[in-house]
Symmetry: C2
Subunit: 301 residues, 2 copies
Amino acid sequence: MQGSKGALKRQKIMKQINAKTKVCILIGDPVGHSLSPLIHNASFRALGINFVYLAFQVKDRDFENAIKGMKAFNFQGASITIPHKVRAVEHMDSLDPVARKIGSINTIVNQNGKLKGFNSDGMGALKALQDHRVDLNGKSIFVLGAGGVARAISFALAMSSQLKELHIGGIIKEEINCLVNDLRGVTEATIQGEVIGGGAFWGKIPKFDILINCTPIGMYPNTDKSPVPDDFLGKEQLVFDVVYNPPKTRLIKEAERIGCDTISGMEMFINQAVVQFEHWTGEKAPEEVMRKVVLDHLAER
Amino acid sequence: MQGSKGALKRQKIMKQINAKTKVCILIGDPVGHSLSPLIHNASFRALGINFVYLAFQVKDRDFENAIKGMKAFNFQGASITIPHKVRAVEHMDSLDPVARKIGSINTIVNQNGKLKGFNSDGMGALKALQDHRVDLNGKSIFVLGAGGVARAISFALAMSSQLKELHIGGIIKEEINCLVNDLRGVTEATIQGEVIGGGAFWGKIPKFDILINCTPIGMYPNTDKSPVPDDFLGKEQLVFDVVYNPPKTRLIKEAERIGCDTISGMEMFINQAVVQFEHWTGEKAPEEVMRKVVLDHLAER
């Protein structure tokens, strides 16, 4: 009897925030509109595990001390967001090889007091494609955008598969050249890059197996915009938009209309959270709980 | 266990955790048995304010980085416990004058990015006496013990009132002498100190207006022990025991038996938490909620 009472008491205490609660955090500036606290806390609750996720606005000058504090307090993990994704790389004890090539991280995992950096954006995109049973080997991919998200996705795809071709369309020439050169160092696929614009540019898009929009064009509140003119999608193409708000962007709607297979930004957004969650907890993430949190939140706007 | 009371409590806390949640922490080593997370989280819930209290085990070598992290993450406050109470003093941007004299802090308040150190043990004892409408001016006080708690209470009383006499009975001669000398620097009251023991020692106790036990004698599981032989309490005396587990120690029971007014360690324990809570939140602490948490916890043992 004493044993069962003890076990009951232990369970009761374990269900509350206490000295054993493991802490994951968001470090960014600003952090006020992040969905990550809602997504991860709902998932911890759903699994009944003793974790909590907190968001901290950390200024540039305080970032190094935040990392020192993360170690001193033995936080289990962190999400890193703007403006710290690149800076964070040099503060890690080790780096995932893909994150090292991308040159930015958005996920830290505390492995026995050592901090390891990952980029879950790329991993989330890859997982979204895998969930759609897409075999990337031999495929040609057109990536719109050459910024942080485009880098993350391009390296994740190029380093995990034998792509045939990866074509980058960006706005800033130096950014495009940098990404093209860096990609050529990790893959034997044909890598090309050019500045977005003109009929010859758009005319190339339909010939690619997969189109991935990594620009913010079409994001709320500019939901009437699309990164690609409506006439330049290929009917056989897989169209993947990283924008998740709205869940169906104009690009995705147009792609669906002409019969394309599509992957919405929601898939990638949920999957990058899944990757973080599973790294921190070692548990399978409750994807449907995460999806519901995001959809409920978007519906509330 | 989804339906258990504990799970519901945790869900209530976690549902409101977002980017605006203010964070208070415990820094110590060990922290596993601290009641502070239960007390403060229950109080935040009772007031419906967006705070959370977390406990972190921080090693000696990590203390400085924990303080840097506390600033980087802009934590609202901290409780400091063994072994960091003395070390913490030198890391504060400012110190409460009484805490400076005591030479140790157990409370940090973040005031617009600057950390101020307090000692809520002394303030809690003072508040417990004030709650009993005790006028300390002109009073003679016998303090048993010369360690950290005795220092905290002695300075809080000596610096807030015109005491007539403060008599310290301790075990370690150097500790007693140090406390006596330091106290003489802050008060015009007669300050004496001596090593505990012998009939002449105990015979002095009944002549004092107030007896305060600052030793752990009588604490669970040694509840049959008392720091003072039963025959040496004065009938007109106020007897104050800092031990709160059990809420009625043998010393308090004996004092009640012969008709003394008494203050239990529970009063001081609750009041030191009240002082912390009010410093961090600016809100009146829900004392009855705190008391219930502590009593429920002690009843579960």
